[in-house]
């Protein structure tokens, strides 16, 4: 007889999802994986590909430029996601309080997030313009700097300015998710804590934090995956410059495959990026499980 009817139901419900993912993502994924073991190049006519085993991967681990891109992307991921989480939680806490105009402010929160990445990238490029950007104008007129700065032209600063633009757009997502979770916390829990003599800090840790941890984790995992594969905003704002200081791993893959036409090598970098992402997320989920089991 095989599966129970409930099991069969479960599979039937999953079928469309699995079919779509398998066909549309499956083929490219397998193709990329296979390519990563060859020295294939993107050619018009079929030029022979040779199996090179792990040679590409060996190069991945010794390539200093990729190492730099990797470190940079980790920096981007941790700083931007960290900022988004921090800001998201703070803003959610703020918007959970009573004040006049609260509904309007909550509605406003959607604005940055609803802005398409390309518009965001363009807007901040114009704001950061070294000759007539509004950031320079504002800071100069406020007396905070004494001359116009080249925000996207200075290696150290450029990455941080890109992070600023990305965080500005994405933190509302976290804020909205956390705000929703905050609304499920029954008031009685806070009152009980007050009666027990808990101050605001303790209230946060004992009442608020456990309640929002779940939703916050969803947001965090999603944002981490997206931050690690960041591409669009870099392609649009700096194209990897200045002096390679904003080149992320995805941009690196793009360069290998599209600019240098080295499909095999590009594929090996792509697989490495995916595996790193998987490891990071797995580590985080394990941490979460451990925390919830000891809590």
């Amino acid at each position: 007889m095989g599966l129970s009817s409930r099991e069969r139901q479960a599979w039937a419900l999953l079928l469309p999802l699995l079919v779509i993912i398998a066909t549309v993502t499956g083929y490219p994924l397998i193709n990329t994986f296979r390519l990563s073991f060859t020295d294939a190049s993107l050619t018009g006519r079929n030029v022979a590909q040779h199996w090179v085993g792990f040679e590409n991967y060996a190069y991945v681990f010794t390539d200093p430029d990729f190492g730099d891109a990797f470190r940079r992307t980790l920096y981007f991921t941790f700083v931007s996601v960290g900022a988004e989480i921090l800001l998201g939680v703070l803003v959610a806490l703020l918007l959970n309080r009573e004040f006049r105009g609260r509904t309007a402010v909550r509605a406003l929160l959607v604005l940055p997030w609803a802005l398409p990445t390309i518009v965001n990238a363009m807007m901040w490029r114009l704001i950061y313009n070294p000759e007539f950007g509004s950031l320079n104008a504002l800071l100069l007129q406020l007396g905070l700097i004494d001359s116009y700065q080249s925000w996207l032209g200075t290696p150290g600063t450029a990455m941080n300015m890109v992070i600023l633009a990305d965080v500005w757009k994405n933190y509302p997502l976290v804020a909205i998710i956390v705000l929703a979770a905050l609304q499920t916390i029954p008031r009685e829990l806070y009152e009980a804590a007050s009666i027990d003599g808990a101050g605001p800090w303790l209230k946060f840790w004992k009442v608020t934090f456990p309640a929002i941890l779940g939703p916050l984790s969803v947001a965090l995992v999603l944002r981490m995956i997206e931050a690690f594969k960041v591409f669009d905003i870099i392609y649009l704002m700096t194209r990897g410059g200045p002096a390679d200081s904003t080149k992320s791993v995805s941009f690196f893959v793009y360069q290998e495959s599209f600019a240098y036409l080295r499909a095999g090598s590009g594929a090996s970098y792509a697989v490495t990026v995916t595996l790193t992402s998987a490891v990071m997320i797995a580590a985080y989920i394990m941490l979460l499980r451990r925390q919830s089991s000891t809590a």
Binding site: L13, L17, M123, F132, S134, A180, F231, Y254, T274
Partner: protein, 282 residues
């Protein structure tokens, strides 16, 4: 002591003002750029308010003359709406049953959920060329259909996971009560689970539409002309090349954000209510 109660209030309102300014200021500036002339924007020190508001760029973008910026913008908007909404529709249609399965009938299948999430981790840059060849062979290049298919794969992992969390929060007792009354699986979904999770559905839909609306690189490579070109690609076109006009780029930016904002505002009420109804658990 009224004093003590006043300080938190003052702090709250100050924080709110800072929040509002930091959120709105860049957008306000974008709007001002769209109505300023280039000489004014390149002046140092900067004029914050233009002496002459020039709304002509909006006119140019919204008038439908052959080969004009307006035609490009309007058709690109049409393509973006088509691709985003169809992809979201498919994602919901497929994601709801899948999420329900993961939520109510977990077990070994949960590994599949993680596998699906795993496909989300591969950089699109790596997948884009194999798919290009497949679409080319099928004659699907430069069609909204191709974009819809590709966007589904981006939206599905996310939507499924989000919906699963929402369904987890719907009390199973209500469903079991309906089952006892003899309601079948789809009946339970339609009449019990979905109405309760309605707001969560709205959230997932909003996230999906915005993700698809945002997408740039696939659209850049898979579309050639206005039959399928989406807004992000059209805007990149405006910003490229020689003789760039900051004003029209800004105006295009504002107009592109508008549909997204409209949808967001609409779903915003259900958003907060919905995410809170049961919360999104990991």
């Amino acid at each position: 002591m009224k004093w003590r109660r006043l300080i938190p209030q003052v702090l709250t309102y100050t924080a709110v003002i800072v929040l509002v300014i930091s959120t709105v200021a860049p957008l306000l500036w974008l709007f001002i750029m769209s109505i300023s002339s280039t000489p004014e924007l390149t002046a140092v020190p900067l004029h914050w308010i233009p002496h002459q508001a020039d709304f002509s760029r909006y006119g140019r973008l919204l008038t439908f003359a052959a080969h004009s910026a307006g035609e490009e913008f309007i058709l690109a908007m049409r393509n973006s709406l088509a691709a985003s909404f169809s992809a979201t529709a498919v994602a919901l249609l497929v994601g709801i049953p899948a999420a329900y399965s993961f939520s109510r009938m977990p077990g070994k299948r949960m590994k599949l959920l993680y596998a699906v999430l795993g496909t989300y981790m591969m950089p699109p840059v790596a997948l884009i060329l194999p798919l290009y060849m497949v679409f080319g062979a099928l004659g699907l290049l430069n069609t909204v259909a191709a974009l819809t298919i590709v966007y589904c794969t981006i939206l599905l992992p996310f939507v499924t996971w989000l919906l699963k969390s929402n369904f987890d929060a719907v009390p199973i007792e209500i469903e079991e009560a309906a089952r006892i009354d003899g309601v079948g699986l789809f009946g339970v979904l339609r009449h019990v689970t979905l109405p309760i999770a309605k707001a969560g559905l709205g959230t997932a839909a909003l996230f999906a539409v915005l993700l698809a609306w945002d997408e740039f690189f696939y659209a850049l490579l898979y579309t050639n002309d206005l039959r399928a070109k989406t807004l992000p690609v059209a805007i990149a076109d405006f910003a490229a090349g020689r003789a760039t006009d900051y004003g029209i780029i800004s105006a295009a930016g504002i107009l592109t954000a508008v549909p997204a904002l409209v949808i967001a505002f609409f779903l915003q009420k259900t958003l907060i209510a919905g995410l809170s109804a049961g919360g999104v658990k990991g």
